[in-house]
């Protein structure tokens, strides 16, 4: 047989196999190392710190778990959150993440390795990303072979779409959930292939872990039934499917109910009903199969007809009846917002207000997946070639996840694994074809070439998969079918091989550069600590958030209630350790709307609200001085909208725009805007900073009036170095029973007679005269 490249011929198959497996192990461990290392940019560029918002709550809960033990955590009632309501944390949290770090913490301590719980939390996500790479390897191995598995593991190890959620310090549920997702899918595929109840059970146990770890478990709850349903509809029902699905569903569902936050949902909400329905359908189909094996086909058809009609009518009637009676809850709002992208904006502004719930902009697909995004369709088409049961799974997964990723930015995370798998299948097919040293023999017969070259193999497999029309379509569209007509078709010589392989290597290395760049520059910022560049290129750290939280911690009584917009609730609780009115849990819309109303109405309206909620301090984020765009004035419209949802007569969004419909903060700003507490708190004494010059808001690029707003019910308590965080203290009622405005005016009138710094006096007198 001709060869393009001379190959050593004196190797025994055993040697080759052993070397290959050794190389695989080395490659996998290097991939794990790369996956962990690229996630450490955040620690190296900044420090070992918990990132963003939700991770601060997870970290706080983990500290409770580590210091007080599991039972205390389970029964933890947190009176400081959602003041004055409190929050039953143990029952309203997915405890998987905290339990994982708790187990690691206690395990290390048992080995006499006293590692700080914070370091465990920071490094948990990178650690699990190595496991994700391994799980993806196992999953892809079932799709094609080991080499595709290694490619998929390498892709998922460094792809920015996954790194964005799993850098060191990003201590969130997704950190462990993607590993669990991939491993559950792997177990499911394995169970389906072997017809093994053991793998079904393992899949159920990991499904339970997933339920305990992330709300996205519903994706598995619907993916596996959908796969089973499609297989049944394709006429591919087998006893293996029955064994795998039944064992997974029964154990998995019962197990998922053990998580307090999930509770009875698996038997009472619509999101979980598809799984139950497919379970019932499988029982019926399996039973009919059994009956068919015992009777002739004519009688079978009679029995089948009667049985199917009655079962179908009964099932639909039961589902409709139960939904009507209210036993089965209809779909929740979050799910409607997946189908109707405008739904959330209309009915649940609190969901729409979260930036990661916005639809995905198309450049972010390239940013997050780079060249994988155009290999992805190729990989999916290749799944149609063989179309085994597991390939159907990848196809369904690809379709569903692509849709969801288009709807919501954060669901890019569920798309990323299947993109890696499909791209790896495509890429390794390419490499297989061009790295194969065999050349087709010019006068070889069709059977010979079928044994040697990949192109020859395909017609055979296609014949096996003629079941579906789609497979025929794909087969007709690909040129491989024509491979029968010209006898010799394949790759000759080394030049084409060299070109293709070089091109492939170049693509891979660009991918690595892109991933490293994206990780280092886009995804490693803790957002608690900001970084900017000095004139000389060195890094300048802006640490206003921690400065403010630390001030609260040191200078206020432990019971002082802090009001802020809900984004900062977890951080205040975690870093300042003070009670908050609302936080990122967002379970009580009315409470959040109350805060929104207080922020968006005038001082006279807001003051009673503040006093009724025992608010001592109000915290706002202001980026106008530094140009930090994620500040509260930019989020202000959402506060207005959410408040409007509850008090439509008192708060109206159009009032906050100029008559021309512009959102302005300068002298043209509307009255409602100028009088709102949020505006006043943001710009209070801002113009003084410019020493008589024109005050400019650098985020909105607008010039502010010379005379800043005045505050009667609040005292400025603290403003950080770059003015990002401003803290105000709420005044108590006047002792003499006057309203605070007149009391303030009176006090200022007296103060004017005493000696005061000139600039301040001018500002105050100007304020008093109005």
């Amino acid at each position: 047989m001709p060869q393009a490249i001379p190959l050593p011929s004196d190797l025994s198959p055993a040697t080759v196999a052993n070397t290959a497996s050794l190389l695989r192990i080395i490659a996998l461990s290097l991939i794990s190392g790369a996956a962990i290392a690229s996630r450490l940019f955040a620690v190296i560029n900044f420090e070992s710190i918990i990132h963003e918002f939700d991770p601060w709550f997870n970290y706080r809960a983990t500290r409770v778990l580590a210091s007080k033990g599991f039972y205390e955590f389970w029964n933890w009632f947190d009176p400081t959150a959602w003041y004055p309501l409190g929050r039953v944390v143990g029952g309203t949290v997915y405890p998987g993440l905290m339990a994982t770090s708790g187990v690691i913490y206690y395990g290390l301590r048992a080995l006499n390795l006293p590692v700080d719980i914070r370091n465990i939390c920071v490094l948990l996500a990178p650690g699990f990303s190595a496991l994700t790479a391994w799980a993806t390897y196992m999953f892809t191995k079932e799709m094609k072979d080991e080499s595709a598995g290694l490619l998929a593991a390498a892709f998922i190890g460094i792809v920015p779409g996954y790194i964005s959620r799993s850098v060191a310090g990003s201590y969130d549920n997704e950190a462990i959930a993607i590993f669990l997702l991939m491993f559950t899918f792997f177990c499911w595929i394995k169970a389906l292939k072997l017809g093994s109840a053991l793998f079904g059970t393992v899949a159920a146990v990991f499904y339970f872990y997933m339920v305990a770890a992330w709300g996205g478990y519903v994706f598995i709850t619907n993916m596996i039934p959908l796969h089973a349903l499609v297989l049944i509809l394709m006429g591919r029902f087998t006893s293996r499917l029955y064994v795998a699905y039944s064992s997974w569903y029964v154990i998995g569902t019962l197990a998922s109910m053990q998580v307090p936050f999930v509770g009875f949902q698996p038997v009472s909400t619509s999101e979980h009903m598809a799984a139950l329905g497919v379970f019932g359908l499988l029982q019926i189909v399996a039973f009919t199969q059994l009956v068919r094996s015992h009777v002739s086909s004519k009688q079978f058809q009679d029995i089948l007809f009667v049985a199917l009609v009655s079962a179908g009518v009964l099932g639909v009637a039961a589902f409709v009846g139960l939904t009507y009676k209210g036993t089965i809850a209809p779909w929740t709002g979050r799910f409607y917002s997946l189908w109707d992208t405008g739904y959330a904006k209309k009915y649940i502004p609190i969901i729409a207000s979260v930036s990661e719930h916005q639809p995905t902009a198309w450049p972010s697909f390239f940013m997050d997946l780079q060249f994988l995004i155009f290999l992805f369709p190729a990989g999916v088409i290749m799944c149609f070639h063989q179309l085994r049961d597991e390939h159907v799974f990848v196809i369904i997964y690809a379709v569903m996840a692509s849709y969801f990723a288009g709807v919501m930015v954060r669901l890019m995370l569920t798309l990323t694994p299947v993109v890696c798998v499909a791209a790896a299948v495509a890429f390794s097919s390419l490499l297989d074809t061009y790295l194969d040293a065999h050349e087709p023999e010019p006068e070889a017969s069709a059977t010979d070439s079928a044994a040697s070259v990949d192109t020859g193999k395909k017609p055979k497999k296609e014949k096996a998969a003629t079941g579906s029309a789609l497979a025929d379509l794909v087969a007709a569209a690909t040129p491989t079918k024509k491979g029968d007509a010209p006898k010799f078709k394949g790759v000759y010589g080394t030049d084409t091989r060299f070109m293709i392989v070089m091109n492939a290597i170049a693509m891979l290395s660009f991918f690595v550069f892109h991933c490293t760049w994206a990780t280092a520059n886009a995804y490693s910022s803790p957002s608690v600590v900001l970084a900017s560049q000095n004139q000389d290129g060195s890094q300048h750290i802006i640490d206003d958030f921690r400065e403010a939280y630390y001030w609260l911690r040191q200078n206020t009584p432990e019971t002082a209630v802090v009001m802020s917009w809900w984004d900062y609730g977890y951080q205040i609780a975690g870093m300042a350790d003070r009670p908050t009115l609302v936080d990122n849990n967002t379970w009580n819309n009315t409470h959040i709307a109350t805060v929104g109303k207080a922020m968006s109405s005038s001082e006279e309206v807001a003051y009673p609200i503040l006093r009724k909620h025992d608010v001592d301090y109000v915290l706002v984020i202001f980026g106008g001085l530094l140009g930090y765009s994620g500040d509260d004035i930019n989020k202000f419209l959402w506060m207005v909208r959410i408040a409007q949802g509850v008090w439509p007569e008192e708060i109206q969004e159009p009032n906050y725009f100029t008559p021309q419909g512009e959102y302005r903060v300068d002298s043209m700003a509307s009255n409602a805007m100028k009088n709102s507490l949020m505006y006043k708190m943001s710009y209070y004494r801002f113009s003084e900073l410019f020493g008589g010059g024109q005050a400019v808001d650098r985020v909105r690029n607008q010039q502010l009036p010379k005379e800043g707003p005045t505050l009667d019910v609040l005292d400025e308590a603290y403003t950080t170095e770059n003015w990002i965080v401003r803290i105000y203290q709420v005044r108590k009622e006047d002792l003499l029973g006057r309203d605070l405005k007149s009391a303030n005016a009176f006090a200022k009138g007296k103060k004017r007679k005493r000696s005061k710094p000139a600039s301040r006096r001018r500002a105050l007198s100007a304020a008093a005269s109005t």
């Binding site: 109840a197 009875f264 029995i303």
Partner: protein
Amino acid sequence: MPPKPAASEPTSAVHTLWKAYNENTSDRLKFIDAFLVFLMLSGIVQFAYCVLVTTFPYNAFLSGFASTVGQFVLTASLRSQVNPDNKNEFKDVSPERAFADFAVGSIVLHFFVFNWLG
């Protein structure tokens, strides 16, 4: 169509089904089937109790019902795995392996059942 033949056809079909089943099924499988029938009856009794009397300790009902349903499907899986007719489908699952799977699955299932009984 006159109703009489339509009514008699299914009955005869069920009759032949029963006869074929008796003749073609090994005693081992019949033993498993007896267990399956028992589980089904137990499940029906529990469900009837839940519908007719009370659902009050809902978690207890769910765990009891899930234990019968779960045991049913695990046993049914065992039955299809050891059924000689299905030999081609379960190439990697020997009857011993099938029983081990069954045992592991049942243990995990009942672990959760007991945890959920309350």
